[in-house]
């Protein structure tokens, strides 16, 4: 079709295990990413996100299990896989002594294409750094390096784009802009896998896998993960926020989870009627000398879900 990406790819991972000596980096991962999906891997450092991406890009071999990109097996058909994958590793794979333009030309030539030929593919990203094309990559700001690395990953017209923590250490505003860019990329028909430790970015993906210590805790649309939240969630604030978490934890067995959440504390209750929440929480806190107590129902966020899955898992 218009850009040659009419056939976007599907990624199928089955029974995947990867160990580094005694460390189980990935434990029995099974998931399928649909063509043209923007799929997020959400989790902290050590979750196994980078290992998984290195396996998909054929840079590592699994101990067992398989990964298919369409009908290509990442172990056997690695040469073909590498041709259709664009990979942006966590630490930028740029040559700092080359200029912006030289970096792009270098990556283009590896894949036997040219900047000119595929300019339209990277235009949205590249035009933001084009005024600096004669500058050495090492002299760019973090945000500009990120955009150059993305341009380099896109220059060979990949069908599958894999971005390892592209927004880590990037400020909240630049992060938003980067996600707007990804949404645009997706419209060209490409399949995109992206990892991030920022839970708030989950809602920007079509579907996400929440990961922790080599395991997938949940896979679904962000909205479904949030809707599946087990229990009732409340946000509480008082005049003594510093002591609120520890005080609430001891109030009642049916308060299952208490965490600080921005300016309030989020607490989860099980099997408590709405009508007796006041009795248990408000009265309980008053006895512990809290004042200006405010309690409201709260909508769970992905981070609430992640915290609860972590607690269940431990």
């Amino acid at each position: 079709m218009d850009n040659g990406r009419s056939m976007s790819v599907r990624v199928k991972i089955d029974g995947l295990n990867k160990n580094f000596e005694k460390v189980e980096a990935l434990k029995n991962i099974k998931l399928e990413i649909l063509p043209n999906e923007l799929f997020g891997f959400i989790g902290p450092d050590g979750a196994g996100k980078t290992t998984l991406f290195r396996l998909i890009t054929s840079l590592l071999l699994p101990n067992s299990g398989s990964i298919y990109v369409d009908d290509l097996n990442c172990e056997v058909d690695f040469k073909q896989v590498r041709n259709i994958v664009g990979y942006m590793p966590g630490r930028f794979s740029l040559y700092y002594d080359l200029t912006v333009e030289e970096n792009l030309n270098f990556y283009a030539s590896i894949f036997k294409t040219t900047l000119k030929e595929n300019y339209h593919l990277i235009k949205d990203v590249y035009e933001q750094i084009e005024p600096f094309k004669k500058r050495k990559a090492g002299d760019l700001s973090g945000g500009m390096k990120q955009k150059l690395a993305l341009s380099c990953a896109l220059i060979h017209k990949p069908k599958l784009l894999i971005l390892d923590e592209p927004t880590t250490g990037v400020d909240a505003v630049s992060r938003r802009e980067f996600w707007e860019l990804l949404k645009k990329m997706q419209k060209t028909g490409i399949t995109i896998l992206v990892s991030t430790p920022y839970m708030d970015e989950a809602s920007l993906c079509d579907r996400v896998a929440l990961m922790q210590k080599g395991e997938v805790l949940a896979i679904d649309k962000p909205i479904n993960i949030v809707n599946d939240y087990h229990g009732d969630l409340w946000q509480v604030s008082t005049n003594n926020m510093n002591k609120l978490v520890s005080h609430m934890e001891g109030l009642d067995k049916r308060i299952t989870q208490v965490f600080r959440f921005g300016e309030t504390v989020h607490c989860t209750t099980m099997d408590i009627e709405e009508s007796i929440v006041d009795e248990i929480i408000v009265e309980g806190l008053k006895k512990l000398n809290h004042d200006k107590i405010k309690i409201d129902r709260a909508h769970p966020q992905i981070e609430d879900c992640f915290l609860s899955l972590m607690v269940d898992n431990n």
């Binding site: 450092d45 050590g46 250490g169 300016e263 992640f306 915290l307 972590m310 607690v311």
Partner: protein, 244 residues
Amino acid sequence: MTEENNIIVVKDLVKKFGSFVANDNLNFEVGKGEIFGFLGANGAGKTTTIKILSGLSKPTSGQATVAGFDVSRETDKVKRNIGYMSQKFSLYDDMTVKENFRFYGGIYGLSRKDITDKTASLLEKLDMLDQKDMLLKKIPLGWKQKLAFSVAVMHDPAVVFLDEPTGGVDPITRRQFWEMIYEKADEGITVFVTTHYMDEAEYCERVSIMAEGKIEALDTPRMLKKQFGVKTMDEVFVKIARGN
């Protein structure tokens, strides 16, 4: 807040690199035991300020004192009174937990006895006495960050600078980390912290937000949200950093 209670005092601070103004006339104070959030977009000039306040870089003009010492003339005294940790640079992977404490304790000029006592009490608090002889590289990231924080405050500095201390850390550990911050602030250590997690901005007593070298806003999170007529610090940040 009285004068004597201000641990950091910054007055008309300017730092230029050639014609580029990285810090453009900064003025602020941070009190003893305060948790001060120092926010801003990448490239806004935060790192430049932190380097000046820790005696690593000299201001072009203006003044700053940390714990009563002038940052351009009394750099040694400044350095002795601060602690520093960041996500990237913290502890040595090829040393054990105990060796890291001993190494930093030595650098901070603590006596052998102080180092032994401090190491024991800090490790006990972290419930990590059993891991004291483990190489640091064998320790999970979340624990490493907590260790790095303990090391950064083992000499009871007046101020501890935390540069994105929780990047990449899981959400439970991130919260435990903040509990440690509160505890140290309660003991009177001033905490000067940068972060990209906007919920963490809410945990600070006061927050400043920098854009293009200037401090564009400085207040409690509550007042900032009121001032900008928004509900979250994220929205405050976006408004300021996008310049509208």
